[in-house]
């Protein structure tokens, strides 16, 4: 026994590398790590730091403490509109598009004919650029020529789906869901294929209905996929940008946190400190989900 243990320990322990190995590791691990730190994590921490300063990007940087956050929360109406829209985005994707994608995946998992056709069609919007999705949205929802008003025979007194600030976010959300549903469907479909059918059969023998078996047995077995889908949904909702930017640059009811960040750097007034404060709000919300996800991933990592 002791021999086996030492042998295993020997294999697990750090291996000795030749100078050539060290050079290869140093360069090929060093470059991506430097890029990741320099262009992803460094800027993340810089955003946090800059959010406590006032800076126009050219002159000197002044430390202003929490003033940016104070202004953001009390003195900047677009912020709350944007936060509300991001929340709506999350709710719509999470409560409507994601369950719908799950439903489609369950239906397509039933060994039906034309399954490949359905899959390809439902998945098609996922490969489109979000900017293109934004332009197509305009064709559907435009007030005077749009297809929706024509279908609804709503041409005498047409609804301005994209121009009305109380309506347009819903039109955009439909477009976002159009793309999100297929994405989620593919992930669930792959997950469902890996669930052991014996589980369902056992549940059926125990007298569970199909619906019960799904919610009590199959869905819990999909846990890893569920976690990924939740993370993707949250991240997509926080990243949302392209569609509204393509439609109207994120104004007039379509404000989003991401748009406000971008506006504060490429807009006329470069307010880097203030923009960073909005970015930090985004970061804080996303971090909770990222950490939860990583904890689950790394727990599985440790399993043999």
């Amino acid at each position: 026994m002791p021999q086996i243990i030492t042998r295993r320990a020997g294999r697990r322990g750090p291996r000795r590398f030749s100078p050539r190995d060290l050079a290869v590791l140093g360069v090929l691990l060093g470059i991506p790590v430097l890029l990741e730190i320099g262009l992803v994590w460094g800027p993340t921490f810089a955003s946090i730091g800059l959010s406590f300063t006032s800076w126009d990007g050219v002159g000197s940087i002044h430390w202003v403490g929490t003033r940016n956050y104070h202004d953001l929360f009390t003195n900047y109406p677009p912020f709350w509109r944007a936060a509300r829209n991001n929340l709506l985005w999350l709710g719509f994707l999470g409560l409507i598009a994601t369950p719908f994608g799950l439903l489609l995946a369950v239906l397509l998992d039933k060994n039906i004919r034309f399954s490949r056709f359905y899959q390809s069609t439902l998945y098609m919007p996922v490969v489109l650029s979000l900017a293109v999705v934004g332009f197509i949205t305009q064709l559907v929802f435009s007030r005077d020529q749009g297809a929706l008003n024509a279908v609804l025979a709503n041409t005498d007194n047409p609804t301005d789906w994209l121009g009305d600030p109380s309506l347009n976010i819903w039109a955009i959300l439909l477009a976002a869901a159009w793309r999100h549903t297929g994405y989620v469907m593919i992930l669930f479909l792959a997950g469902l294929k890996s669930v052991d059918p014996a589980l369902e059969e056992a549940a059926a023998i125990d007298g569970a209905s199909e619906v019960q078996a799904f919610f009590r047995v199959v869905l819990p077995a999909l846990r890893p996929v569920n976690v990924i889908v939740v993370v993707i949904t949250v991240i997509e909702a926080l990243r949302a940008f392209d569609i509204v930017y393509a439609v109207n640059h994120g104004r007039n009811g379509l404000e989003l946190l991401s748009v406000l960040v971008t506006d504060n750097i490429i807009g006329e007034a470069s307010r880097i400190g203030f923009g960073s404060a909005i970015a930090v709000v985004l970061l804080t919300i996303s971090l909770g989900f990222i950490v939860t996800y990583l904890v689950q991933e790394m727990r599985e990592e440790r399993k043999p």
């Binding site: 291996r15 590398f17 050539r20 190995d21 290869v24 590791l25 090929l28 991506p32 790590v33 990741e36 262009l39 992803v40 994590w41 800027p43 955003s47 800059l50 990007g57 439903l103 397509l108 039933k110 060994n111 039906i112 034309f114 069609t121 098609m124 490969v127 650029s129 979000l130 293109v132 332009f135 949205t137 559907v140 435009s142 020529q145 749009g146 297809a147 008003n149 024509a150 041409t155 593919i186 792959a190 997950g191 890996s194 199909e210 619906v211 890893p224 940008f241 930017y245 393509a246 946190l257 960040v261 971008t262 750097i265 490429i266 880097i272 923009g275 960073s276 970015a279 990583l294 790394m298």
Partner: protein, 309 residues
């Protein structure tokens, strides 16, 4: 294997008694309901795309008068010609490739090596590395955009590398960010994939005196061909589709990739949406073709990350 639609089995069975003559081939009515539903959803999903294609073939005067949802009177490819000549779409398409191709190759190369290191070599800190790369890809892009903008404005580049003399407003900036950002996703997927390969292959190579490079390039990478192909397909689409990086890190219009250049087809005071539709179809066409030809790779790329081998 029961076929009833989970949500409404009893309803469908009730219909079976009345609609018996319709299913001579013993097609269960539940199946029929299922197909009707899926067909309706599929058509609804396809409709906006078809509408864009349809609009792009019709002159503005016609759709302005009758709306997009009307019978055609004239159909032509004029808008595509116009997008090519006035909109210079071919130039922007080349710009997209200038960004996406090097970024894709670098990302896959670096990511596969990092994945190899964290999954096949007993390095210290490998879990930390994996977490750093994976988490980095999950950050919202806007979190890093502002400092990067300031940073790129401060990095001078010689004129032969960038005519703006800074990293800002050059392909280098966009490529570097794409590589840094997407490497995280690829590391995660490839590390998961490599972990499913038998360790004995590497151990045998080590016994034969293979160094780290040989273990990576000659032994591990060839076995990862399916995963790398899947990621290449997916990542090419993502990089090609990117909109934000170029928008923020570039200011000269003639360097923009095709997604960002779509906006150029919008006039200053008047927008011809049919021209924009033609542009959208042209931008979407390469990704749709890639998807149709390499659908299996595309889906594998997405699901490799979600389901472990």
């Amino acid at each position: 294997m029961t076929s009833a639609v989970a949500a409404r089995p009893s309803h469908q069975h009730a219909k079976a008694a009345t609609g018996g003559s319709r299913d001579r081939r013993r097609v269960r009515p539940a199946r029929l309901g299922l197909h009707t539903f899926l067909m309706a959803v599929s058509l609804a999903f396809l409709a906006p795309l078809l509408l864009a294609v349809y609009a792009s073939l019709r002159p503005y005067q016609e759709t302005a008068k009758y709306g997009y949802f009307s019978l055609p009177r004239h159909l032509s490819f004029d808008y595509y010609r116009q997008a090519f000549t006035e909109g210079e779409m071919s130039k922007y398409f080349v710009n997209s490739l200038i960004i996406a191709v090097p970024a894709l190759l670098l990302t896959l190369f670096f990511a596969s090596f990092v994945a190899f290191s964290v999954s096949r070599i007993q390095l210290r800190g490998r879990v930390f590395l994996l977490v750093m790369f994976t988490a980095g890809n999950l950050l919202p892009q806007q979190v890093i955009v502002t400092p990067l903008y300031a940073l790129f404005n401060r990095i001078p580049l010689p004129y032969w590398m960038s005519d703006s003399m800074t990293m800002y407003d050059s392909y280098w900036a966009v490529i570097a960010v794409q590589v840094a950002f997407q490497t995280g996703f690829c590391v995660f997927v490839l590390a998961n994939f490599m972990r499913t390969l038998p360790m004995e292959i590497i151990e045998a190579a080590i016994v034969d005196g293979a160094g780290v490079w040989t273990q990576y390039w000659r032994i591990t990478l060839p076995l990862c061909r399916p995963a790398v192909a899947a990621l290449a397909t997916l990542q090419f689409t993502w990089m090609y589709n990117d909109f934000l990086w170029a928008l923020v890190f570039m200011s000269s219009g003639d360097k923009l990739p095709i997604t960002s250049a779509l906006n150029n087809l919008r006039g200053q005071f008047f927008t011809d949406y049919n021209l924009l539709a033609a542009g959208s179809v042209m931008v979407a066409l390469p990704t749709i073709l890639v998807f149709m030809i390499l659908q299996r790779q595309f889906i594998a790329g997405l699901t490799l990350g979600a389901n472990k081998g």
